[in-house]
Every structure is written in C-alpha cells, then in structure tokens.
C-alpha cells in the first residue's frame, strides 16, 4: 500500500510539473526528485487525521484511474493520466477538487520558488 501511494504521489507530481513545464532560463530547474521530496515531506508534516484523509483520497484517486484505462494512475499513459487528473480537478465533488488543489499548491509553490528571479530581476521562469 505504501509503495502504491508513493508511486501515485510521484506520478501526480510528474503530471503537475508537466502541466507547469517552465521554460529553461536563468536559474536551475528543480529535478522531479526534489519536487517529490518536498511534497512527501509536507505530507508527513500534515495533521495526522488530515494526513490519513489525504492518503485515503490519494489511494482512491490512483485506483479509480482503472475505470478509464485499465491501469492504476501511475501506470497509465500520459494522455489518460491527464484526463483522469482533469476529471478530478473539475469534479462536482469538493473532496476531489480539494485533493487536486493540495497537490497543485505544493508542486507549484516549490517549482516557482525554486526558479526565483534571474539576475535582471525578471521572474526567471
């Protein structure tokens, strides 16, 4: 289960990083590993009950991808992953949108903060 969750979280980080692919410019692009470490670290710091809820919702997210591609989320093709992600993002169910928002917030904050500003002062993004 733990391994499955790790794989799902990694795939989620990859999916978000892909959507927010930042143009190469000044500064260093963080690696996916760095993004994942930040996200795992933050999930571990969450209040315990909330963390259990997020882990459960992440597992449901990973498993329900099966209905649309006969694979769990982290084993799906990129196109199907993106579709599953968007289904949850635009879901009428608040908890689905909240889960997407949580992961997006963590990845985007880390990605954009890591890029910072370039020497000329423009956002080096």
């Amino acid at each position: 289960m733990r391994r499955f969750l790790q794989n799902t979280v990694s795939a989620i980080c990859y999916e978000i990083a892909l959507q927010h692919e930042l143009p190469r410019g000044a500064g260093s692009q963080p690696s996916l590993g760095e993004v994942e470490r930040f996200v795992y670290g933050q999930l571990a710091r969450m209040p315990r009950l909330l963390g259990i809820g997020v882990a459960g919702a992440t597992a449901v997210f990973g498993v329900t991808a099966w209905w649309h591609g006969m694979h769990v989320f982290h084993r799906q093709q990129a196109r199907l992953r993106a579709l599953h992600w968007m289904r949850w993002k635009c879901s009428s169910l608040g908890p689905c949108r909240d889960l997407v928002r949580l992961y997006e917030s963590l990845v985007v904050l880390f990605l954009y903060s890591s890029r910072g500003w370039d020497a000329s002062g423009d956002a080096g993004l």
Partner: protein
C-alpha cells in the same frame, strides 16, 4: 536548555510567541524564576529565506498545511519555533482600535482596558521591537494601494513595522534591515534576565497536584515533568485551548475561535512593480475598517504561481510578466465563532470555522472594492482567487464577481487567529478574567491572542504584546 526529567520553577510559560515571550521577559525581569517551553526548534531569523518553502518546513506548524474545517474551508498558518508567529509574519504593527476596546469593555466587561490603560504597554513594547515607519521610499507595489485610495478619496496609511533598518538600500531605493521578531528581542531579554528556555518541548497536559501545576511534556521523545507554582499558557489561539481541553479545563475554552478571513487577487500593472527582495508591503487601506481592510501580500514567484492556480489559462502570465504583478488582499473581521476541540489519542486539535453568509457577502464586497481600488491605481488585469471568476480588466467586469462568495469556490486563508478563550468579567462569555487568569483555576493564566474577545480588524501582534505585558505586571502586583 534540554530539561532533565523533572524541573521546578516559580512560573512556567508555555509557548514563546509574542504573548509568551513578553510575559516571560516581564516576569524574569522582575526576578521570577521562569521556564519558557516551546514545542518548536530554536532557530535564528536567518536560518532560511523569509516566506520560502524552507521556512514552511522549518518554522510553520504542520508545514503550513493547517485548515479550519467548514464550507468554505479556511487555510491558516501558525508558527512553531522559538518566537512563534513573530518569526514568520510580516511584522506589521497596529495598536488596538479604540472602538474595539470600548466594545470589549462593554460586551465582555473587561476591566482597565481603555486606551489610556494600555498606552504605557504599547509604548514599552514598541520601543523593544523598534516599531517604526520606513525611513525612505516604500515599494511601488505597496504605494499602488495609496495611489488608488487617493484617487477614490479613500483612507489609506503606511503601517509601521517591528523592524530595524540598518542603513542598507535595496531595489527602488527601499531601506533594508531585519524584522524584530521575538527571537531577536524579548527572548534574548528574557534569557538575559535568567529565564530558562526549553525548545523542542511539547506540553501535553497540565495537572494540579498539591497546590502546584505539573506540566507533562515531551522533549525530543523523552517525557519530562515541569512543576510550577503558576503557569502562563501562551501557545496561540489554537494550541492554548487544545492544551487546556486536554487537561480537562473546558469551560468556555475553544468555543469562540475567530479569524480574519482573507481573499486575494493578483494585479498586473503596466510598469515593473515586483523584483527580488520585494519583501513586505506596508500600505493598507482602512476606508472600510474595521470590517474590511485591504493590503498587499508577499508576491514572490512561488506565491504568484500559487495565487494563479484559479486562472490556469493565464498562468503563463506569471512566467512572462511576473515582474509586473503583485498579490493584494481583502481581509474582513469575521463575525463567526469557530471551535477548537481535541480527540483522545490525536495530537492535533480539530478546528472548525463555518464562515457565515454575511461574511461571504462581506468578502465579496471586499473583493469588489479591492479590484476597484487596484483598477484606480492603474492595474491592467486582475485575477481574483475565486475558481471560475474570469480575468477582470475594467470597471464593467467587476459585476462578474458574485455578490456572495460561493462557498465551494472561494479560496480563503488567514494568518490572524484569536478569541478562543476570551477575557473579561462576564463569566457567561469569558474563559479568563480581565487580566488573563482562567476563571475557576488557581495559578493558571492565558497570555496570547486567545484572550482577544473579538476579531480586532487589524494585525493582532500589537494587542497581544500589550495585553501580555499588562497582564504579567498585574500578576506581579505592579500595575
């Protein structure tokens, strides 16, 4: 200090934020034998970049992932390090509005709480944390608020900060320096006066044994007991009621938790307003205060990216025009009362806060007026942090903001938490008396934002410090 298995002291202060640090410093300076407990680590202000992901990891409780449950949820943050919230906030400083003091005296029957009563405490604390205005130009992103307010005939002000300007100059000629957090001011003063600091020590519960308070705590995985004649609980508006409730003290504890719900909008201007080290903006618009206030938020690339999550079609704007963008906020003094509760075997308290429909309407009004203000200050495009509300670029577009924020699409946050254990002589409403002593308990005091009876409508640190000093002096019989 790493506490041994058993520690004895005259006064134990639990929590080292503005309330705890001022109380510990005042008590130690008057010769009391004080131990100051802090759950988080003892880090310098420079241990990481301000407002960075590293800071969230090091100094925020739960990495900043704390939420008051309700519809909509309200995301909040708390400091968890020596110095508490003062280590992670902007250091903006307000005295308590006189109308609030009047209200608290009238409704909560708080004694000795006129502006005249608090004046010496405000003054003393302001000297200690060097409250001052910027001695030079302020950032353009900040001045935009003043410009917009001027053109609309609204009242705005530069807010002083707890800050020491060191003579260096940054971008736009803005003077630089260091925020005067508790770890740079009252904590060193307390230590110099003989206070013992125990970081990474979590108070689990309080027990009254033979006329003494025993604090059952945990330090680096090891249980310790701190015995004290008197205890000041200063763990903040969430952790203070949680600790008291875990200790079986529940009367009016954690029943009236309040916040300043805040909604944000990104503004893009034609000219450059953002740059590395922009830091904290100091202008606030107070035309509709205390109910609604406007200000400028931290606008680093990370936070800009985050704020644009509600506008996925325009996120590239941050990439190409981040230097023309800043994040602004509308903050309301909420009229809702939330709850702080604990569950057996669970460390983190459950915080609930149901934003009222009136608050949702006020937030919508605040957001509309904020957008009006930003357009008047020259903003070309606005991106409100409400899912489904499009980019706005003219006064006509303001009608696209709903008259009541939709609970399911509003992304609310707050950094101001208070009122969970209000003070006053009205025992039907108050957990503690006019000077912070918990009703019905001997030798047990509260010294943090929990005591503030209602949402003050301004940054609460000034109120917290002044009350902590006043109440510590009252305890010492020196008032």
């Amino acid at each position: 200090m790493t506490p041994p298995e058993n520690v004895r002291c005259e006064v134990a202060v639990v929590g080292s934020g503005p309330g705890g640090a001022v109380a510990a410093s005042t008590l130690a300076a008057h010769g009391r034998n004080v131990v100051l407990l802090e759950e988080g680590p003892h880090l310098s202000l420079d241990s990481c970049a301000a407002f960075s992901p590293e800071e969230m990891q090091q100094k925020y409780r739960c990495g900043g992932l704390t939420t008051a449950l309700g519809s909509p949820k309200v995301v909040y943050v708390e400091g968890r390090c020596v110095g508490g919230g003062s280590e992670i906030n902007s250091g903006l400083y307000h005295r308590t509005p006189p109308a609030m003091l009047d209200r608290w005296r009238r409704e909560f029957e708080v004694e000795s709480l006129t502006l005249r009563d608090l004046e010496p405490h405000f003054q003393a604390c302001e000297e200690d944390v060097t409250v001052c205005l910027t001695p030079g130009p302020t950032p353009l992103a900040s001045r935009k608020l003043g410009d917009g307010a001027q053109s609309l005939g609204w009242r705005s002000m530069e807010v002083p900060r707890c800050f020491h300007y060191d003579g260096t100059i940054g971008c736009e000629g803005v003077p630089q320096g260091k925020r005067q957090s508790m770890s740079r001011t009252f904590i060193p003063a307390a230590l110099a006066a003989g206070c013992r600091l125990a970081p990474e020590t979590r108070a689990i519960r309080l027990r009254r044994v033979n006329g003494q308070w025993n604090i059952e705590a945990n330090t680096q995985g090891r249980p310790v007991t701190i015995s004290a004649t008197d205890v000041f609980v200063a763990a903040g508006a969430v952790q203070t009621p949680a600790l008291l409730r875990r200790s079986g003290i529940t009367e009016r504890i954690g029943d009236t938790f309040s916040v300043h719900p805040t909604v944000k909008a990104i503004a893009r201007f034609e000219e450059r307003i953002n740059y590395p080290g922009l830091g904290v903006s100091v202008h606030q618009v107070k035309e509709f205060s205390p109910r609604i206030s406007f200000g400028c938020s931290i606008s680093s690339p990370g936070y800009l990216g985050l704020a644009m999550l509600d506008h996925p079609d325009h996120r590239r704007e941050v990439l190409s025009r981040g230097h023309q963008m800043a994040i602004y906020y509308a903050m309301i003094a909420g009229d809702t009362q939330g709850r702080v509760r604990v569950l057996p075997g669970v460390d983190d308290p459950i915080v609930t806060y149901q934003v009222s429909r009136q608050d949702l309407r006020d937030l919508a009004t605040g957001l509309r007026r904020l957008c009006e203000l930003l357009l008047a200050s020259g903003a070309r495009e606005l991106y409100p942090s409400i899912s489904g509300v499009p980019r706005l670029s003219s006064a006509d577009d303001l009608s696209l903001i709903p008259t009541e924020l939709p609970a399911g699409r509003a992304n609310l946050m707050t950094i101001h938490l208070f009122s969970s254990c209000p003070m006053g002589e009205n025992r039907r409403r108050c957990a503690a008396n006019s000077f912070g002593k918990v009703h019905g308990q001997e030798g047990l005091y509260i010294s943090d934002a929990s005591l503030i009876p209602t949402a003050p409508g301004v940054n609460p640190q000034g109120t917290v410090m002044a009350l902590a000093r006043r109440n510590a002096l009252a305890y010492l019989g020196k008032l």
